[in-house]
């Protein structure tokens, strides 16, 4: 049985135990999701730990993570369930010799044996505790979004041939979105909303220290400060938390003890991925090495 959260500090504590640093906002929403049994829609810039949050919750509650990665063109057959038509065809052909009546065959081929479960149905039928992650939900078309609604509000699916399958438990459901399009109101209404932004200085520093344990305090502070400074610039893509961590690792690997403009100039490509962004940041922070 999944151990559920007792209080908000408990959430913070337990997420921390699996190296995920939350704050009052994140933990508060996770706690509510657990209590109100509602899904959470997590939005925010790329790389601030939206997907990580789901993984961390699964890990700390000892639940299995079932993940539905959304993409353009995702449909019912890939998200919910599909009839295994090849097997059905075989079954029909095998029956030709026995001349079974159609009604019997029909009943037979639309039974659970011929059902291929996809992530959503799998989540609903799961006996053991699970966390369901529906990743990058903004990538599916607005029409496809509708097929999530029944799952999200009642945690059940209706299969015409079999009837309604209802989940035995209410797991924590996390949806993430990079906000490439506005999600429908219907979807948003069914979810709690959590926006994760770039962390403030102290939290980012903590994250760096937890994820890169070998780093010393001084360097972590400097890393966080430089990253904050870069995020202040007007860039196409500001550095994400994962890029901050990569950068900290790079600095360690290169044996840098402190950050000078030259070091920034040499390693900026770890933090920024657009040439124009790199040029701009270099001009601002490391003018000497710009040449």
């Amino acid at each position: 049985m999944a151990t559920r959260f007792e209080s908000v500090p408990d959430v913070i504590e337990r997420l921390r135990s699996v190296d995920y640093l939350s704050d009052a906002n994140i933990a508060g929403v996770v706690y509510l999701a657990d209590r109100l049994e509602k899904p959470v829609l997590v939005e925010g810039p790329a790389g601030v730990g939206k997907t990580e949050l789901a993984k961390a919750i699964a890990q700390t509650t000892g639940a299995r993570l079932i993940r539905l990665q959304c993409y353009e063109g995702l449909d019912e057959a890939k998200a919910l369930y599909e009839w295994n038509y090849k097997k059905q065809l075989l079954r029909i052909q095998a029956d030709r010799e026995h001349e079974t009546s159609w009604a019997v065959v029909e009943e037979d081929i639309f039974s659970e044996d011929f059902l291929l479960t996809r992530p959503l149905l799998e989540a609903i039928r799961a006996e053991e505790p699970i966390v369901l992650l529906i990743d990058e939900v903004d990538r599916v078309e607005i029409e496809t979004e509708a097929l999530l609604l029944e799952v999200l509000s009642d945690f059940q699916v209706s299969i015409p041939e079999l009837g309604t399958i209802k989940g035995t438990q209410r797991p924590i459901v996390i949806l993430t979105s990079n906000n490439t399009r506005e999600l429908s109101e219907a979807l948003k209404r069914r979810c709690l909303y959590l926006h994760i932004d770039y962390p403030d200085l102290d939290r980012e520093k903590e994250i760096v220290r937890v994820r890169v344990p070998e780093i010393d305090d001084e360097l972590a502070e400097q890393v966080a400060r430089v990253v904050r400074s870069i995020r202040e610039l007007e860039l196409k893509k500001a550095p994400s938390i994962s890029e901050t961590i990569d950068w900290a690792r790079t600095l360690l690997y290169l044996g840098k003890k402190e950050i000078s403009p030259e070091v920034i100039g040499e390693t900026l490509h770890v933090l920024l991925k657009y040439q124009s962004d790199i040029a701009k940041a270099r001009k601002e922070l490391a003018p000497e090495s710009a040449g």
């Binding site: 929403v29 706690y31 509510l32 109100l36 078309e141 490439t180 922070l285």
Partner: protein
């Protein structure tokens, strides 16, 4: 509690946030699980259930502060402060310099607190500063910004920032290179900003105590970012718009690309259909189609950049160029009474903001006197470029059509429209002002395929969607 919550939701709706019945009920269920004294968590609970758009968060925060600031754990009761303050002033007066001295002393304490970033101390000092300098009187009908201004003027945060830097340098905490100083400066700016927020919160708390939450919320109501009027945006609002533009265009581009791909399916792909039919015993059960190759529209933007509409033009150019991937070609011209092509600025530079800046400083747009002359600008545009307009081109004209009583030369638009696919006009003025004074929009409008009022981001976004869909 429920009453407060209802008032709160009511105010959110009044501020323009779409809060549905279910969300309202969710919020009520949510607050049963959290303790109101845990302010951050309580706020998270309300936010998660009531606010479903990130750009509505600021509006939510303001209303939240107003409605729940009295529950804030802040300073424990005013009297203690007042006493403290009185004893302090008395002490200062004893020192001989009177009020002046006390301000100095407060500044000194503030400096200490900021150096060590002692939050409780800062909160206490914020409260003291407000009591001392804001001169708040019950029932006085002025807004919070007035008090904020009065308080901050006395404290002189800029000077404080410089002194913080000085202190840090003396203490040898800041090495002598530029980078370290920049980072340190940013750190102090951040601290000062958080102190400023504390002062704001304190003022709001007192105002709410004086006037009641509802009245207070009404005075603070501001338009949501997508409703900010381009022509009257304050500096802060303009910055917020700038920041909103890139994510917005990215989202819009993704949506358009998706829709374009899905809208028409291409021709039947015979070979792949036959191949697929093999798995059904030769029955073509699953027809396959070629990917569609829809043509992207070509865009010409002609923008008035005279003073009155400059920010609108700048903004729209930025928007269109950020969307450039959605069009096969984008060319742009700016004019006042002369006209100049500015496509080159955008081609030379990766950075749209930078290009817009160059448009403003380098484009040659003045012909006679630097007052808008739409007629002349259009005529020149026609003479130079009419041959380059193809049936794939959509032309977008930007401006308020305030022609300073010059000849409108509306026939030019007719000639342009004949060659182009579409000719649109975007007007940043409210519809009610059209055709008043020297505005001749109606005369131009009869020669355009469409004239749109475009006063805010929401309207601009809607328009770009229409043209990009062709």
């Amino acid at each position: 509690m429920l009453d407060v919550l209802q008032g709160f939701v009511h105010e959110l709706r009044a501020a323009g946030l779409p809060v549905s019945m279910t969300e309202n009920l969710d919020a009520m269920r949510a607050v049963e699980h959290v303790d109101i004294a845990e302010r951050d968590i309580f706020k998270a609970a309300l936010g998660a259930t009531l606010v479903k758009h990130h750009h509505h968060w600021n509006a939510f925060e303001t209303v939240f502060d107003v409605y729940f600031s009295l529950y804030s754990p802040g300073v424990d009761g005013e009297e203690i402060d007042e006493q403290l303050w009185e004893s302090m002033t008395a002490e200062a007066a004893g020192g001989g310099a009177g009020g002046e001295m006390s301000r100095e002393e407060l500044a000194a304490m503030l400096l200490e607190a900021l150096m060590s970033m002692d939050r409780d101390e800062l909160r206490r000092l914020a409260a003291m500063a407000v009591s001392a300098f804001a001169g708040m009187e019950p029932g006085r009908p002025v807004g919070g910004t007035y008090y904020l201004y009065r308080t901050l003027r006395q404290l002189d945060l800029d000077d404080l920032g410089a002194r913080l830097m000085g202190r840090a340098r003396e203490a040898g905490e800041v090495p002598d290179d530029e980078l370290a100083q920049r980072l340190q400066q940013e750190e102090f700016d951040e601290r000062l900003r958080s102190f400023r927020e504390l002062v704001e919160a304190e003022i709001r708390r007192r105002l709410v105590a004086d006037r009641g939450a509802e009245a207070m919320a009404r005075t603070l109501r501001k338009p949501l970012p997508e409703d900010v009027d381009f022509m009257h945006a304050s500096r802060d609002e303009m910055l917020a718009l700038q920041r909103a533009i890139y994510p917005l265009t990215r989202a819009l581009a993704a949506r358009l690309a998706q829709r374009r791909r899905r809208r028409h399916r291409g021709h039947l792909d015979f070979r792949r259909t036959v191949r697929a039919s093999l798995s059904y015993g030769g029955v073509p059960a699953e027809p396959k189609f070629r990917d569609p190759h829809p043509s992207k529209p070509e865009i010409m933007v002609v923008a008035d950049i005279s003073g009155s509409v400059a920010s609108f033009a700048r903004f729209t150019l930025q928007f269109v160029y950020a969307m450039a991937s959605q069009f096969s070609k984008v060319r742009s011209w700016v004019f006042i009474d002369g006209i100049d092509e500015v496509t080159r600025f955008f081609q030379d530079s990766d950075d749209v903001t930078d290009a817009v800046h160059r448009v403003n400083t380098e484009a040659d747009v003045v012909w006679v006197d630097g007052h808008s002359d739409y007629g002349h600008a259009f005529e020149v545009f026609h003479d130079r470029h009419v041959k380059e307009i193809t049936p794939k081109t959509s032309i977008i004209l930007l401006g308020d059509a305030r022609n300073n009583y010059h000849a409108p030369q509306a026939w030019v638009l007719d000639a342009l429209r004949k060659r182009a696919k579409h000719l649109y006009w975007l007007n940043p003025e409210p519809r009610g002002y059209w055709d008043t004074g020297d505005s001749v929009i109606a005369e131009y409008a009869s020669h355009c395929d469409g004239v749109y009022e475009c006063r805010n981001l929401r309207q601009l976004e809607r328009f770009v969607t229409t043209i990009a869909e062709g």
